[in-house]
Amino acid sequence: MFTRDACVGAASLCLAALPLTVGALAQDTPPFGFGSPTTQQELAKFFAIPPDGRGLPPGSGDATLGAKIYAQNCTSCHGDHLEGNPAKGVGGDKLIGGRGTLATKTPIKTVESYWPYATTLFDYVKRAMPFNAPGSLSDDDVYSVVAYILAQATIINPTETMNATTLPKVVMPNRDGFEPDPRPEMQLYR
């Protein structure tokens, strides 16, 4: 069997033999060896928080501190009362209200009425907010502003602390509002 080292010296011969060679290797053997291993340290700066809260960082916050963080970082786009700001150059989403509107002619989709998981709110704020300085909030600040939004939405009590344990337990009003894609609809086939 050819080895990769042998391939370097016998390129033209190896081109013909390579498919057989690859096929003969064990299933879990990387055929190319490109790239380099990552370390836990490198991976630690990345995150994506699923509903079970896996990967939530240490730290905590509550609505009292969150109100201050919100006032400093969020009001210009999302309004003093989380009502959103559609102005030209801004276009910030409304964050609360809209419960009971989803099945009407004028649905209002907000964190309160539409978002199924509180973990998504933490993930998104930490990931991409504030809009003009993404990723600039500390984890405590993110927990705090999330607590503030959830409290303003009357989903949690204003005194509750949000952290890696409590956040995944928050039950959002529209938790069961989603269903898998049923397409393609059979009546659209010939």
Binding site: A48, P50, T106, P107, I108, Y117, D123, G135
Partner: protein, 429 residues
């Protein structure tokens, strides 16, 4: 330009520097240069027009610095939809002006959620980790060493046509259908990378993450990634454009555009979806009963006539080569039909090339206009037997609960009314 020769004319220097650099330089250099540059449309350079090009010498070979530009007489551009915020917004391809099947890279539609990042490919890394045997990072040089594939695919934003559910709203096909573009993409298949890192048993989803200010994330079924997920670094024969994800973009053939994560920096294999903001609060389809469809990935069969189309005016009765594009996220387009009487009678259209899977195909139809009012429509059938529906059929299924309900995945038959005076308008018929 000859080596070492310094251009004496400032305008000539700007042209030699290439259009983009020229435009940037013009902004710095002041009003004279700027005025000169504005005489050419974006992407073009202005040259004096000789009375007779056969009576004087043309421009020197490679005087453009070695990267060409389009004619100064061609002016079609992408149109930004007027969202309040121009950093999270979209621009649309001028389908009415496009020729053939591929979209010029500079006219490919855009959708950005936090602006267009500038990324040094020498510093860019792709991390692949999670439920894998060996978590790895790949430089762009690493990625380019893997065997590559080159394939033509369309990308369509799931919001294409979102303004058109309740009444005809935008006037041109650029507005109604311009979140559709087709390119030849070159890159490495995800399956190749997956074998390199080894997949653990139980992995079913892959998080794809971009390196833009939105740090855009979507969860993708592992099965789809292994079937035909492509990590693309090439577009139409050159490096992928910055606004299309330079230096690396995920291509998921047939899936809604927002899943084709641009500026791709991370893939995390998981046993469940991450329920990111984009796949819960945004790209979901709220139905009339208050429930929302989630992970509605596939772009279903769709076609549109691009000539004649909205805002055009036919000069008079006679022959017209009606033409347009058809596509399906589920495979090849099998057939296209055209109607000139609002769908009462259908005739087969001519396919101008052999349809490829998950790629647009241009169709045409010879039409003799008798000068009377007409309504032109096209509909396609894909290889699965799915027939492009009417708007009434779609609304019957999805409901029409306002501008914030089921706004995505509008693939209905488009109607263009031709009036007796030859003017063409967007109508619901």
């Amino acid at each position: 330009m000859f080596p070492g020769r310094v251009p004496t004319d400032r305008r000539a220097f700007l042209f030699a520097a290439g259009s983009t650099a020229g435009a940037a330089a013009a902004a710095v250099l002041g009003s004279t240069a700027r005025a000169a540059d504005q005489r050419a449309p974006p992407g073009a350079q202005y040259f004096e027009i000789p009375a007779d090009p056969t009576k004087e010498l043309g421009r020197a070979v490679a005087a453009d610095g070695g990267y060409g530009s389009r004619s100064q007489f061609e002016s079609e551009v992408r149109w930004r939809y007027p969202t309040p915020n121009e950093y999270t917004s979209w621009s649309m391809t001028p389908l009415d002006k496009m020729l053939g099947n591929l979209t010029a890279s500079g006219l490919h539609f855009e959708r950005h959620h936090g602006g267009i990042p500038t990324i040094d490919p020498l510093r860019h890394m792709l991390l692949v980790h999670g439920m894998v045997s060996t978590a790895k990072k790949f430089s762009m040089a690493d990625i380019k060493r893997f065997p590559s594939v080159t394939r033509k695919y369309f990308i369509e934003c799931s919001g294409n046509g979102l303004t058109e559910w309740n009444k005809p709203t935008l006037k041109t096909v650029q507005g109604t259908h311009g979140l559709l573009s087709t390119s030849e993409w070159t890159g490495v298949q995800f399956a190749t990378i997956a074998r390199e890192v080894g997949l653990d048993d139980g992995g079913t989803w892959v998080l794809a993450e971009g390196a833009d200010a939105a740090v855009m994330t979507r969860s993708i079924p592992l099965e789809k990634m292994l079937k035909n997920g492509l990590l693309a670094y090439g577009q139409n024969g050159e490096a992928i454009r910055p606004e299309q994800g330079y230096p690396l973009r995920l291509i998921l053939p047939g899936y809604e555009g927002n899943t084709h994560i641009k500026w791709l920096r991370r893939l995390e294999v998981s046993d469940k979806p991450f329920m990111t903001r984009e796949e819960t609060s945004k790209y979901t389809d709220l139905m009339a009963n208050g429930k929302a469809r989630q992970f509605t990935f596939e772009m279903e069969a769709k076609s549109v006539i691009t000539f004649p189309s909205g805002e055009m005016k036919l000069p008079g009765p006679g022959f017209y080569d009606v033409t347009g594009l058809a596509w399906s996220g589920r495979g090849r387009v099998q057939s296209v039909e055209v109607s000139s009487d609002a769908g009462k009678t259908w005739y087969p259209a001519h396919m101008e090339s052999i349809p490829e899977p998950i790629c647009t195909v241009r169709f045409s139809f010879p039409w003799i206009w008798d000068g009377k009012p007409a309504v032109l429509q096209s509909r396609c059938t894909d290889e699965t037997g799915y027939i492009q529906p009417t708007l009434a059929q779609l609304v019957a299924i999805r409901g029409a609960n306002g501008p914030f309900g089921s706004i995505y995945h509008l693939n209905a038959i488009q109607s263009w009314a031709v009036a007796a005076d030859g003017s063409v308008t967007n109508v619901h018929a």
